[in-house]
């Protein structure tokens, strides 16, 4: 009887131990820490997993960076670095490496696009009232006001010497066309410095950058917001293991006057928005292109978009004003169909 009880006990311990071991030894997918927020006047989502076990700490550190970037890039807050540069009356101003990088990238893209993408449209933004969330201040300026502002637009008025910048002819910089992609890139660097094998994504104002593949070997599925739907309504999907996806569109900051839609991306030659596309989504290995290409395309139209996409090697998914979807061959690599 005693021998029997001992055998039963050993048998039970072995079975129960095996069950517990199998639970703990089974490869479980990494647990993602996800944090949402509203930063830099837009929504932010970061999802992150690392085997080092400090995902929350790293994501919190990434979020703490936004205060710094707001003090650098917000052109509408007195005292920010960009505000001070815009109000420097043509003097040389020493600037931070972050601001210098984005200004240089914007200037290079302006040259590449022969000024179709132009970061010096800064004075047009408050003229239309699009620099504020107060939708009652969004309005159609007079043509005289626009002509007057256009006198202070032109990327050739930006001079760079070492870490100093001078803005001539009263131009104001608005770096929204590339800032979010740059911040994505900087935050991803923080994540990878913590753990090169870590995984997740950073979404700053709809520009999504990939830290590492989902669960180590799966793509992240990124929805493309339906420009005429609500904010959770996706019209297409892209699958990304790495790189960046960004979207430009006409559907968040806009007014409709006499049936015509005017939005916040201006043609630097006319001072008005163009009506080629509802949205342009871009996938690129470079963060500055995932933002800048969309702005360029919204201004330049289909033919120029196609040529520039070939030149840069980016993939695009555009919806024109008739609601038709246009996408290039490169897009097939990334398209996800559920």
């Amino acid at each position: 009887m005693r021998k029997r009880n001992i055998i039963i006990s050993i048998f039970t311990v072995v079975i129960v131990g095996s069950v517990i071991a199998s639970i703990f030894l089974t490869k479980v997918p990494p647990k993602y820490y996800t944090r949402y927020g509203v930063e830099l006047g837009t929504n932010v989502e970061i999802s992150y997993a690392t085997r080092k076990g400090n995902a929350k700490e790293v994501v919190d550190k990434m979020f703490s960076e936004f205060e710094k970037y707001d003090r650098i890039f917000n052109p509408w807050i007195a005292g920010s670095e960009l505000y001070n540069l815009n109000h420097s009356d043509g003097k040389w101003v020493k600037i931070s490496p972050d601001l210098l990088y984005v200004i240089k990238a914007s200037m290079n893209f302006a040259q590449l696009t022969d000024g179709v993408f132009d970061p010096t449209i800064g004075r047009l933004v408050p003229l239309w009232g699009f620099n504020t969330d107060n939708t009652k201040s969004w309005h159609l300026p007079t043509s005289q006001e626009i002509q007057e502002s256009l006198k202070h637009v032109g990327y050739k008025n930006v001079e760079i010497k070492g870490n100093e910048v001078r803005l001539l002819n009263g131009v104001w910089l608005d770096l929204n066309g590339m800032m979010e992609g740059y911040i994505d890139q900087m935050l991803i660097d923080i994540a990878r410095q913590n753990d090169p094998e870590s995984s997740g994504f950073v979404d700053v104002g709809g520009t999504v950058g990939i830290i590492g593949p989902k669960y180590g070997d799966q793509p992240w599925i990124i929805g493309i917001q339906n420009p005429r739907g609500n904010s959770n309504d996706s019209i297409g999907y892209v699958k990304l293991y790495s790189g960046y996806v960004g979207t430009s569109g006409d559907y968040e900051r806009y007014i409709i006057v006499n049936g015509k839609r005017y939005y916040h991306i201006f043609d630097p030659k006319t001072g008005y928005s163009n009506d080629y596309f509802e949205s342009v989504t871009t996938v690129s290995t470079r963060s500055i292109f995932s933002d800048g290409f969309g702005v360029f395309s919204m201004v330049a139209g289909q033919s120029a978009m196609e040529k520039m996409a070939s030149k840069l090697g980016v993939a695009y998914y555009a919806i024109n004003e008739q609601g038709q979807v246009l996408k290039n061959d490169e897009w097939q690599k990334y398209e996800y169909k559920p």
Binding site: V19, Y36, T281
Partner: protein, 143 residues
């Protein structure tokens, strides 16, 4: 004597009832572990204000909730089983502005991965533990 010895040797280590008890115990233990590991949590909505958790709302009944910053009213949320929506939102910075309420236009959210966002009020609402989740992990939208 011989008979008695043979009977003792042939006696089974486990009786039928021992085996049933053992299997039941192991099954119960496995189920308990499994449920703890994999059982979905109850559906709820997390309301963030200024980046911090303002309220966690169970999505199990029809109800209304109001969000305040200090004494200032910001938003009304309505729940029904498994879903939540914003029915009204002010603009904290510009109280006279009532147009372009993206948060209200978002409508009901009921899947994990969906959000209600009010940029001026710095409010984010998202769901957890709902039956479905979105096809996408993140959304790209105009910047």
């Amino acid at each position: 004597m011989m008979n008695g010895k043979n009977t003792n040797t042939n006696r089974k280590i486990f009786s039928k009832w021992d085996l049933i008890l053992l299997v039941s115990l192991i099954t119960a233990f496995g189920l308990w572990i499994g449920l703890r590991q994999f059982a979905p949590p109850a559906a709820k909505a997390v309301v963030l204000l200024d980046g911090k958790v303002y309220e966690v709302i169970p999505l199990n009944k029809n109800a209304y909730y109001k969000v305040y910053r200090g004494d200032t009213y910001l938003m009304t949320l309505e729940t029904r089983p498994g879903a939540i929506r914003a029915t009204y939102s002010t603009n904290w910075i510009f109280p006279e502005t009532e147009t372009n309420q993206v948060s209200v236009a978002t409508g009901w959210i009921s899947k994990e991965g969906e959000t209600i966002i009010s940029i001026p009020n710095k409010i984010v609402v998202y769901t957890e533990g709902t039956k479905e989740r979105t096809t996408y992990d993140a959304m790209t939208f105009q910047n």
